[in-house]
C-alpha cells in the first residue's frame, strides 16, 4: 500500500487534482479519506461564502459601455466624459461660470491647503515635523520602554518620563524620569537665564542633587532620549517597503495607523533592520500617540515602545520659573559644583570632590 498523503496532496485530492495513484490510495485509506473530506469541507465552505458576494447591479451596463466606447476606457481612474452643453446654455453657461468661480473662491480655495491624499511616508514626515513645536512651553508625559542593542544598552529600561521644554528659550527645560512604580530615577533641569542646572540621581535609596552653576551663554543642548529613538524608528519606517496606512475612529478622534507588518528575518547585513513597526498618529495634529517597533542593529535585537500620556503647549509667559525646578525630598544630599557642557563628567567630578572634602579633617 502506498504511503499516506501529505497536507499538500490531501488538498490536491480534495480539489480533484490528485494523481490516479493518490486517488486510489485515498479510496483505500480511511485516514486519508477522512482528511480529504475535511479539506473538501473547508474549501467548499470558503467557495460558498464567495458565491454570496453579489456583483453590483450596474456592472453589466458599465462594462458594456466601456467596451462599446470609441476609445474603451479603463477603470474609474480615467476621467469620465462630461455631458455636452445644450445650445441655449451659452448665456446661462457664462453666468454659471461666473457663479462657479465665485463659489470656488469662497468655498473651494480655503480647503486647498488641506491635503487630499496622504501617504504613510507623508504622515510620518508631518509627525516628525510636529514633534517639536515652534514656540511655547510644552509639557509631555509618556511611557517609554527600550530594549536596546549592546552598544547603547545603558539607556534600556522601562520608564515614565515627564518633560517640560520652553521652545522660546533654548536650554530651558526640566526632564524627570520615573520608574514604573513612580519613583524618581533621575531628573535634570536647566535655567540658562539664571545660570543654573540641577541634576538628580537616585542610588541605594538615597537622592543626590547636583546644583551646577553654568555659563548662561552656553546652555546644554537638549538631547531627548525618546525623540532620538522615535525619530530613528520613523526614519527607518519611512524608508521601509510595504508599510500600510489605515484610518480609524477611536471615539476620541480619528487616528492614522501606519504599520509595517511582521516580516521574516531577511538575514540582511544592514546596520538597522526594522522587522515590525506600528505608529498611531493623531489625525488632527499629527502627533505620535503610540509607537512600537522591533528589529535588529548589527544582528543585535532591539525594541522601542512609546505611548503618549498627555501633552500640552502653553505660551511661555504663562509658565512660571519654579515649574522648571525639580522638587527635592528633604533628605536629599545636595552637592554644589561648577557645570560644563559634559554633564556626566560634572556629576563624577562633583561626587569625587565631595568625597575628598568629606575625607579631609
Amino acid at each position: 500500500m502506498s504511503r499516506c498523503l501529505n497536507e499538500a496532496r490531501i488538498r490536491a485530492a480534495a480539489d480533484g487534482e490528485a494523481t490516479e495513484i493518490e486517488q486510489r490510495h485515498v479510496e483505500g485509506c480511511a485516514e486519508c479519506s477522512a482528511r480529504v473530506t475535511a479539506a473538501d469541507g473547508a474549501g467548499r465552505e470558503f467557495a460558498a461564502m464567495v458565491s454570496r458576494v453579489e456583483p453590483p447591479a450596474n456592472l453589466t451596463t458599465r462594462v458594456a459601455r466601456a467596451l462599446a466606447a470609441d476609445h474603451p476606457r479603463a477603470g474609474a481612474t480615467t476621467l469620465r466624459d462630461f455631458p455636452s452643453p445644450r445650445w441655449g446654455g451659452r448665456v446661462l453657461a457664462t453666468a454659471g461660470l461666473v457663479a462657479a468661480a465665485v463659489l470656488a473662491v469662497v468655498f473651494l480655495l480655503p480647503p486647498l491647503d488641506a491635503p487630499r491624499t496622504l501617504s504613510a511616508a507623508q504622515i510620518l514626515d508631518r509627525s516628525l515635523r510636529t514633534m517639536t513645536p515652534a514656540s511655547g512651553t510644552e509639557l509631555r508625559e509618556f511611557d517609554l520602554e527600550l530594549r536596546l542593542p549592546r552598544v547603547v544598552a545603558n539607556h534600556a529600561g522601562t520608564y515614565r518620563i515627564e518633560q517640560l521644554v520652553d521652545h522660546d528659550a533654548p536650554g530651558r527645560y526640566r526632564i524627570v524620569r520615573y520608574s514604573p512604580d513612580g519613583t524618581v530615577l533621575s531628573a535634570i533641569s536647566e535655567e540658562p537665564a539664571e545660570g543654573r542646572r540641577t541634576a538628580v540621581v537616585r542610588a541605594d535609596g538615597q537622592t543626590f542633587a547636583f546644583r551646577f552653576t553654568i555659563d548662561p551663554g552656553q546652555p546644554l543642548g537638549l538631547r531627548e532620549l525618546e525623540r532620538d529613538h522615535v525619530e530613528a524608528v520613523i526614519r527607518l519606517l519611512q524608508a521601509a517597503a510595504g508599510q500600510t496606512v489605515s484610518e480609524v475612529d477611536t471615539g476620541r478622534g480619528r487616528r492614522y495607523v501606519v504599520e509595517l507588518p511582521q516580516v521574516a528575518d531577511t538575514g540582511a547585513s544592514g546596520f538597522w533592520e526594522l522587522s515590525r513597526a506600528r505608529v498611531v498618529v493623531d489625525a488632527a495634529d499629527f502627533q505620535i500617540l503610540e509607537l512600537t517597533a522591533s528589529g535588529s542593529y548589527m544582528s543585535d535585537p532591539f525594541s522601542v515602545s512609546f505611548r503618549l500620556r498627555r501633552r500640552t503647549v502653553r505660551p511661555s509667559t504663562e509658565v512660571s520659573a519654579d515649574q522648571f525646578q525639580i522638587p527635592l525630598d528633604p533628605d536629599a544630599i545636595v552637592i554644589e559644583a561648577p557645570g560644563t557642557q559634559d554633564v556626566g563628567q560634572d556629576l563624577l567630578a562633583g561626587a569625587l570632590r565631595e568625597l575628598v572634602r568629606s575625607k579631609r579633617p
Binding site: 466606447a69 474603451p72 479603463a74 500600510t244
Partner: protein, 191 residues
Amino acid sequence: MTGAAGIALDTPVKAVAKDLTTPAGRATRDVRDEALELFEAHGASLFRFARLMLRTPADAEDVVQTTFVRLLDHLARGGLRSNLKAWLFAVAANLCRDQLRARRRWLGLLPEHDQLLTTPPALESRDPVELFLAVVRTLAPRDRVLLALKAQGLSYREIAAAAGLRENSVGRLLARALARWERARAAMSHT
C-alpha cells in the same frame, strides 16, 4: 438575466451594447461581441475575485472594467484565444496587485472615510458576507489570490499561471492559506 455563475445581473449585455452608438474604434463588432460573451461567462466571477482582493466594491468594479478593456485590446490585436478564462484572471490579479500597492502608498482623505472607518458594529450584527470579507482581508495578499482563484473554479495550472507560481506549489500553498483563513475566522469570532 442570470450570469453564467448564477448571479443575477441587471441587463443583458448585448442589449446594452446594441443601444449604444456603433463605435468607430479599432475593435470590430465581432471582437466586441466576443468580449461581451466572455463578460457574461466570467464577469461575476472576476468581480468576486477582485472583491476578495480589494477593500471596496468600487475598486473591484474598476478592476473588472479594466480587465475587459484589456481583453478587447488583446482580441483586437489577434492575441491568443486559448484559455481566455485564465488570461482574464491573470490580468485581474495583476490589476489587484497594482491597486494594493497604490493603496499602500496613498490614502485618500475623502469625506466618506469618516463613515467607512467608524468603529465597526458588533460582529453578530454584521452581514455575514461583510464579516467573511473582513476575515479574508486579514490574510496576506498571496493567500487571498490563491483562495479567491480556487473559489472561482480555476485549476491548479490556471491558478499557477494567474498567481505567478509553480503548479507543484499550489496545493501546499492553498492548504496553508485555507488553514490561515480558518484560524483568522476563529480568532475574529472570539473577538
